[in-house]
Symmetry: C2
Subunit: 235 residues, 2 copies
Amino acid sequence: MTARTSTETARDIPEATVARLPVYLRALTTLLDEGTTTCSSEDLAGAAGVNSAKLRKDLSYLGSYGTRGVGYDVEYLHFQIAREIGVTHDWPVVIVGIGNLGHALANFSGFRSRGFRVVALLDADPSRHEEQVAGIDVRPFADLGEIVREHGVAIGVIATPAAAAQDVTDAMVASGITSILNFAPAVLAVPPGVDVRKVDLSIELQILAYHEQRKAQGDPADPSEPAEAPEEATA
Amino acid sequence: MTARTSTETARDIPEATVARLPVYLRALTTLLDEGTTTCSSEDLAGAAGVNSAKLRKDLSYLGSYGTRGVGYDVEYLHFQIAREIGVTHDWPVVIVGIGNLGHALANFSGFRSRGFRVVALLDADPSRHEEQVAGIDVRPFADLGEIVREHGVAIGVIATPAAAAQDVTDAMVASGITSILNFAPAVLAVPPGVDVRKVDLSIELQILAYHEQRKAQGDPADPSEPAEAPEEATA
DNA sequence: AGGAGTTTGTGAACGTGAGAACAAAACCGA
DNA sequence: TCGGTTTTGTTCTCACGTTCACAAACTCCT
């Protein structure tokens, strides 16, 4: 372990590790619910569907939270990862675009339990402003700035059609949002310092289709397709 | 370019490239709609939000479809990528779990236009079997095998709660499905030869939260956060 | 107290991906 | 026909991520 200047956490965790920490967190939550108090890296790796060596290396970036010969304390490790990710308190989030997807997102119960709180639903269509979705009023898109200021929102979710996505992005950035989760099938331009993550159903399906095609056309009995990720069971 | 044994496409395209091909395909569709007939790697890279060198290298895995000094024929390249991915014809798809998310997926218009066709909506809850969603009947989960056989379905989408995901997976695999897109927050166990891709809203948000926390706590004026992916505009 | 058995944390080897740079190949104008 | 210009396809190098393998450190049993 490299020298730590203060009592704070270590810096520069690899991006690939950051992407797995939420998976570990969820696996730990499951273990907690089952009443498990201690687990080995092998146990947790199995529950998270990864290699145990990779899991240990990932956790080592956070610090030495395990005990050799014993394993990890489930509750303690859960807290440490939650703290590292920053979900020990809830993050306020706004959702823009209350179509089919926006409805589903607004109703998504996992928000609250996983460190997020929807503070506003926004839509440009005035005919929707009467609605209430998941107990939250749908408000005019023009209110974005006010809402962001009022609640200190840093994270925005875009669930609009592609054509509107860039305009929504620009307005979000202007109002002070610095992290965007984009469900619209469009490439967004953002200034430095703003993070964008993209979730795209069509792309995921097309990646599957590519592999599916390979399986079919390669050979009826295909030799070279050992399952992209042979995972272990959890739920 | 390495020797090609037959007239078929080259083998073993890197996974990272496969994941970007759908992005290029979409960018090309946009260019087609705009009436553009030819584009340079720089143009297309801009529209897709990637480095032009990376784009050229990606395309080189498919073959030499460009012309030096000129660029790429938009329509021709679009077809070649579509063929490589395997979306020149529609893939039949089943969706299991018609909750909020299932509804949104069933209504998603991008399916049809991007090489997929929803042939069935399945739900275990009998009270939903009267419903029609997006013009498609909701059918009992028990009909899965029959539907898969009848339509030759290879791709399944899981939009159930986490607790049901593994059972649904097992039934899908048993019925002959070999590619699964999983929206449930659970790690799925599948036999070799079956591909699983996972889409997880909570994980994406938590990754954003991590970076957001770093921006905030690091320093008010943060030196080391040059925007994860400074993308170019398209839509 | 001491040795056997476990399990973590990490150093080192390996594989994959990204980006710079350039040669090869096309077009264009004289 | 020939040189200049443009743009692709490819090679090379570097950085990142994964996996192996093992020393360090802890528990348990005698």
